[in-house]
């Protein structure tokens, strides 16, 4: 692999995040097939140079094959551009598209978009990790982490209702509660659609059938790799979380019927 090809690989991965030699749920993106061959036939020294180049930008190239996880076709290789757990993110990281994608009203603030993203994301993680008894490090479970859009929407509606009930007092510090409960009509559905579209576009979620979503391998690997720096910094200890037990009521009974 010469430097020119290395540059092509980096450029492709920055846009699409994943190179698969035999993609399952989609067709090849332009140029993907050639780059898969380049990476497959590269000697270890070139791959090492590429890893160093990426590490300087805060990334890590992770290669997986069918002997590692279920769901990868026989003889297929998957290369993923994952945020490095130990290096700083590069200066060209931009969160602006995230805020832009999450806004559904013309003059919404970035704060509101950020709050919506964080809370929808936590509910999404609870749907594919907590409700299945799956630990954050269990990447192998990505294949079974599927859900329908309606189920996710119902979960979101349920939790927003809980917030509305407990924060009806309208206290001054309930900024977040105010943002979350300020929904009318179809806006919650639109928020959920915006979230799902954003995640699919970033290759963290796959739409395997219309309305059915599955966590991608990249999504699972990234959560495992960057958890300590990312959500792990935010989420407090179990002792703090258990204190909220009286408010949270999981809709687990209705879920059992849905899992037919």
């Amino acid at each position: 692999m010469n430097y020119h090809e290395m540059g092509q690989v980096v450029a492709y991965l920055l846009r699409y995040r994943v190179i698969e030699s035999k993609p399952v749920h989609r067709r090849h993106f332009p140029g993907e097939r050639d780059l898969a061959v380049v990476l497959h036939t590269a000697d270890p020294k070139s791959i090492d140079h590429l890893q160093q180049l990426l590490a300087g930008q805060g990334f890590l190239l992770v290669a997986k094959t069918d002997t590692d996880y279920r769901g990868i076709a026989t003889g297929e290789w998957v290369w993923m551009l994952v945020r490095h757990a130990e290096h700083n993110p590069p200066p060209h990281f931009s969160q602006a598209p995230l805020f832009l994608a999450m806004k559904i009203r013309p003059n919404e603030t970035n704060e509101s978009a950020g709050v919506w993203f964080l809370h929808l994301w936590l509910l999404y993680l609870s749907l594919i990790y907590t409700q299945r008894g799956r630990g954050v490090g269990e990447v192998s479970g990505y294949l079974d982490a599927t859900f329908e859009r309606e189920k996710f929407l119902r979960l979101v509606e349920h939790h927003i209702e809980e917030v509305r009930k407990t924060h009806d007092a309208g206290s001054a510090e309930a900024r977040v509660a105010k943002i979350l409960t300020d929904t009318k009509g179809q806006s919650l559905g639109r928020r959920v659609n915006a979230f799902l579209a954003l995640m699919c576009d970033s290759a963290l979620l796959l739409e395997t059938a219309p309305g059915v979503y599955q966590q991608s391998l990249l999504g699972a690997v990234e959560i495992d790799q960057s958890f300590q720096r990312g959500m792990g910094v935010l989420i407090p200890d179990a002792s703090v979380l258990e204190g909220i037990v009286n408010i949270a009521a999981q809709p687990s009974e209705t879920d059992a019927e849905d899992n037919l």
């Binding site: 002997t67 996880y69 279920r70 509910l123 993680l125 720096r229």
Partner: protein, 458 residues
Amino acid sequence: MDWTPFLTAALRVADLHDSGHTPGSFANPPDEKRSGRGDGLWLDIGCRLLDFVHEADQELNDNWVPLGVFFEETLARHPAVGVEDLRWVVIHLSTPCVVYAIPADSECPPHRVRSTKATALLERPPFKGPDRCRLTPLGRQAVHLARAGDQWLYAHHDAEKIITAIKAGDFGEIPRHAADVTHSLRTLSQEIVRLLELPGHDELFAAFEERQNHYLESLQKVQSAVSEARHLLALGSVENAFEVWRDSRPSADLSLVQIFTLLHQLLQTAEGLGRNFSGFIRAITSRQRTPVGLLRFDLAFYHFVMNPPAPAVLSAAFKASAPWSCGVSAVGPDDARGVLPAASEGDTAEPMTFDEAKAPPLPSEMEAFLAARSAEICAALAQGPVSLSTAFGAGWAEVGGRLHVGELMGVFSAPDWLGKDIDTVRIGYRPGGLSVDLGDGRRLAGDDLVLTLERSTP
């Protein structure tokens, strides 16, 4: 010996055989609870009976096996059971039943249905006497299947089957065996990866103890089998045998190259397993991995409603885990659109029209020249022969400040331009007579043309 793997693999299939579901009726999923006592008593007695008879059979060699010892052992193990119950178990296992199946080569409806009654596992003697029985061939097969199911790790990835297939000339079976071995190696490898994801170090060590033999043995078997297979396939005699086999089956879609590819893929799978296994050992010995376990993200949701995180912390968390994109400082195609001047505002909506009837045609160059000079030329011709050098010297080439060299020469070489009322004009030439300086740096040299007017003689 544990019969449960063998049994659980076949139970639902047996249910399908027994079901009376009519096509088109409501699709009820079957009950999870099976009928019966639910304590596994009769199953236990029956399986132990089969094991006992099989062991005794090793020595007695198909002779009748006396059951007295078995009855004593069982009555001690299950005191609530009586001898008549044990006899009932023997009768149960020795009564055949009818099994219906559609053979695989029956292509279109109405399908042939094959039935067999050779389904008894034990045989009782036809004479009355003390309790004895022996295994039927089917019973013997059942014990072997159960034993294989119990030790599936050893039966599955038997890479030596590939060697057997090559030596026996049964080349069509090689892809199937290779696929089986690949599948079981892959399962072992994925199992290792899965073990590393779960928290808990001690379980890991226990699993390692239990499985390391399996992993190492399967790796070694596969590697030696593949190298021997490659060696065999390179022999001339085996190649001939392959050609013979392929000629006898024109529909078979297999070539030696494909077999080599399968073996190569098998080696790659084994390599993947070896890689994961060495990672496994490294993880056990270094004690460095700490996989994060289960987290209550739903509770975290409420926590953040009441305690929103600081923007800097949230931003760092987003940068580490949330969707991102590259903010490159280059202009994109959409960015310049607002900057383009509104040049189109000045345009009217009317298209351009060409009105050819109104505009008078412009005179061509020749016409302009003739309009200016033809009278002079005709006057000079009337007085005598006119040569080209004379014409240039008289300045006739210049009209309106421009030189019309081509037009003047055109008139001299085709005097018809001068008009119809001229009598015949003859063109002559004087070799080497032309040497004109045009005044703008150009020079004409060559033969001189002379026009002579010939009046028609009356």
